[in-house]
């Protein structure tokens, strides 16, 4: 609407100029009150438009300044807190059944969160560490831990994350999270751990 009004004003001015500059017959004298009133009306209209525009711009500027001020005020604490939350989500472990390396359905949500975090933080690179419980064979567990790390990596890659951003490592049963020789300890030790290699400062929360 604003631009249309502006074009109308320009159009009127152009028409007036064209009428005055035509050669030959002198232009018929226009009734001045009419011309004055038209110009005054156009000016008043323009003033009104300008004022409205200025007010809108001022308000917009005020709003953005206020938001910016608010963001700035919150940034250190809030963004830092947010980064920590994101980091915790990223580090959340996933777990496996005995002698299995398939991602369990109850862990897919945790992996989906990691996909979103990796998408929101394009510089982020991570390492997935696969671990086993003490029940299996010591050396076989290195192969099994590798399978477990690869399983998480493949899940992330199949959801659009570049494979070059994810390293994998197997620890076999060499680094148990929990000491103990029962299923409660074993089930916690059969896990993938996720750690940041680089790009982990001020992690952005996924939108």
């Amino acid at each position: 609407m604003k631009s249309v009004s502006l074009l109308l004003v320009i159009g009127l001015a152009a028409a007036a100029t064209a009428a005055s500059s035509c050669g030959g017959n002198p232009p018929p004298a226009q009734p001045t009150p009419n011309a004055d009133s038209a110009a005054a009306a156009a000016k008043a209209r323009q003033d009104s438009i300008d004022a409205a525009n200025a007010e809108a711009a001022r308000r917009a500027a005020e709003d953005s300044a206020r938001i910016a001020r608010q963001r700035e005020a919150d940034s250190l604490a809030a963004l830092g807190r947010s980064s920590e939350e994101v980091r915790a989500m990223l580090a959340a472990m996933i777990h496996f059944d005995y002698d299995k390396s398939n991602v369990r359905s109850d862990d897919m949500g945790a992996l989906d969160q990691k996909v979103a975090i990796l998408q929101a933080n394009p510089d982020l690179r991570i390492r997935v560490g696969g671990h086993c419980d003490e029940r299996g064979s010591d050396e076989y567990n290195l192969a099994l831990g590798n399978r477990r790390a690869q399983a998480a990596k493949q899940y992330l890659v199949s959801h659009g994350i570049d494979a070059g951003r994810i390293e994998t490592q197997s620890w076999g049963e060499e680094r148990p999270l929990v000491d103990g020789h029962d299923e409660s300890a074993w089930s916690q030790n059969r896990r993938d751990e996720f750690e940041v290699i680089s790009g982990g400062d001020n992690l952005k929360r996924p939108s």
Binding site: S137, E139, Y140, L142, A143
Partner: protein
């Protein structure tokens, strides 16, 4: 012979002696809880082993005790230990020679230690009928002549000296002393039975992420890995002077090749890019086979260890893992673990990777995971462990018939490793309540602890160590 009189005396003495020191034998322990349809493989034949009398002497006690224990641990003799005193060692009735010592029971060192004709003078002094009555086939007399230690092996039935083994032993407490005594025990065993012994051998193992070395009799534990990084899977080279192991480093698994004498360690080329583990030497020492875990899974590779070159891939697993290689002693074949049937089982292939096939039979859906194979030095067997009812047990595969037998059933038993005699296995067991190293004799079923410390695992038994590890590269 004076028959009844001597016999009666010998019988009385035997009763006293056998009561005083009964043969120190553990019963075969693994007789319970064998799974249905699995035959336990221990053939227990009490009384078949020849008796060996250890003659009492003054002095050289540390040598005598070590040799007696080595011969006992060979599980090839019944060791008969006599209380001290020459009245038992010497014959009361000396019908033929009349060579009884005139020196009131003092040991006759130089005279009795001579070989051949020189030993003849000692023969008459030994109470062969008594030893025969005790069930002895041999008597061992350890004496000193100057700086030479002499182990004289008497053949009781032949009533004569079989052989005198001489050695200039280092001083007790010096670094080479024990191995020198172990070598002497092996020479005695060789002289008695014509078979090499296993006394002069050692076992590498892992404890708390570090590699240690221990003598087969449980003495002289020594740290050999050189960093604080976590190590696994030590493996001997056939020369007994080198070994390889894996170490976690920077998120990967590195293989190292180390000189036992100097401790100098060399990273195996091309490692450090992946998780490389379970190294195994070819018998000629030229090739190192190992497992490598990558995005594709775990597969077997070989590398020329002498020139650190020529990496070669042997398996292409795709959806299965292949690991834990072990060479046949002729170097022609490699047994390994593969998960191609779904669970890990024991497979075999030619050393170039061709002709891969199942090695240890299993019942699909019934038999548990099988892991940690090691080919016996005589080539006839492959030891491994298998999941039985939720725990691990040691099995042996007969290579010719491809049948398996279960060796253990008490507690959890895993990671067997062959002694060079192919009849003893060291393994990890928690039968005592915590995981420690044990040794089983397959012929008698006798089991003894090698190391009574918790947390020891992944043992690797050395070849025969004929000399002290050299310091030459």
């Amino acid at each position: 012979m004076t028959g009844p009189r001597v016999g009666g005396l010998a019988g009385g003495l035997a009763l006293v002696l056998l009561t005083a020191s009964p043969p120190a034998r553990l019963p075969a322990q693994d007789t319970n809880a064998i799974d249905r349809g699995v035959r336990i493989g221990i053939v227990y034949r009490p009384g078949v082993r020849p008796g060996m009398v250890m003659l009492p002497r003054k002095g050289l006690d540390s040598v005598r005790v070590m040799v007696a224990r080595d011969l006992d641990y060979s599980d090839r003799f019944e060791i008969i230990t006599l209380p001290g005193g020459d009245s038992i060692r010497l014959s009361t009735a000396s019908p033929s020679g009349g060579a009884t010592t005139p020196r009131g029971g003092r040991p006759r060192t130089s005279a009795s230690s001579g070989a051949g004709g020189g030993a003849q003078s000692a023969i008459g002094s030994l109470n062969y009928p008594l030893y025969q009555a005790l069930g002895a086939d041999f008597a061992l007399d350890i004496t000193a002549a100057g700086d030479t230690t002499i182990a004289t092996l008497h053949d009781i039935a032949a009533a004569g000296v079989r052989r005198a083994v001489r050695a200039q032993l280092p001083a007790p407490g010096s670094p080479d002393f024990r191995q020198a005594v172990h070598r002497m025990a092996d020479q005695v065993l060789q002289a008695a039975l014509g078979t090499p012994g296993i006394a002069a051998t050692r076992v590498l193992f892992v404890k708390e992420g570090k590699v240690y070395l221990i003598d087969q009799d449980g003495a002289e534990i020594k740290l050999v890995s050189s960093t604080d990084r976590q190590a696994m899977s030590p493996a001997w080279a056939a020369d007994g002077h080198h070994f390889a192991y894996m170490e976690f480093q920077a998120g990967k698994g590195w293989l190292y090749y180390q000189d036992m004498g100097t401790g100098k360690r060399t990273p195996v080329s091309t490692t450090g890019t992946a998780l490389d583990f379970t190294p195994a030497f070819s018998p000629d020492g030229q090739t190192l086979a190992f497992s490598r875990a990558t995005e594709e899974g775990t597969d077997l590779y070989t590398i020329n260890i002498k020139n650190n070159c020529c990496l070669r891939r042997l398996t292409v697993g795709h959806f299965s893992d292949n690991l834990s290689p072990t060479f046949s002693p002729d170097g022609q074949r490699i047994a390994f673990v593969s998960t191609r049937p779904g669970l890990p089982q024991i497979y075999v292939m030619a050393a170039d990777g061709t002709d891969q096939q199942l090695f240890a039979p299993f019942d699909y859906g019934v038999t548990g995971s099988s892991n940690a194979p090691e080919w016996s030095p005589d080539g006839q067997s492959v030891a491994f462990h298998r999941d039985v009812a939720g725990t691990l047990q040691v099995f042996v595969l007969d290579v010719r018939t491809r049948t398996v037998r279960q060796l253990t059933s008490v507690g959890r038993n895993e990671d067997p490793t062959w002694a060079p005699d192919s009849r003893h296995l060291a393994f990890v067991s928690d039968r005592s309540g915590y995981r420690q190293l044990w040794i089983i004799d397959l012929d008698t079923g006798r089991i003894r602890p090698l190391l009574q410390q918790s947390g020891a695992r992944l043992p690797a038994w050395s070849p025969r160590l004929s000399e002290a590890p050299s310091t030459t590269p």
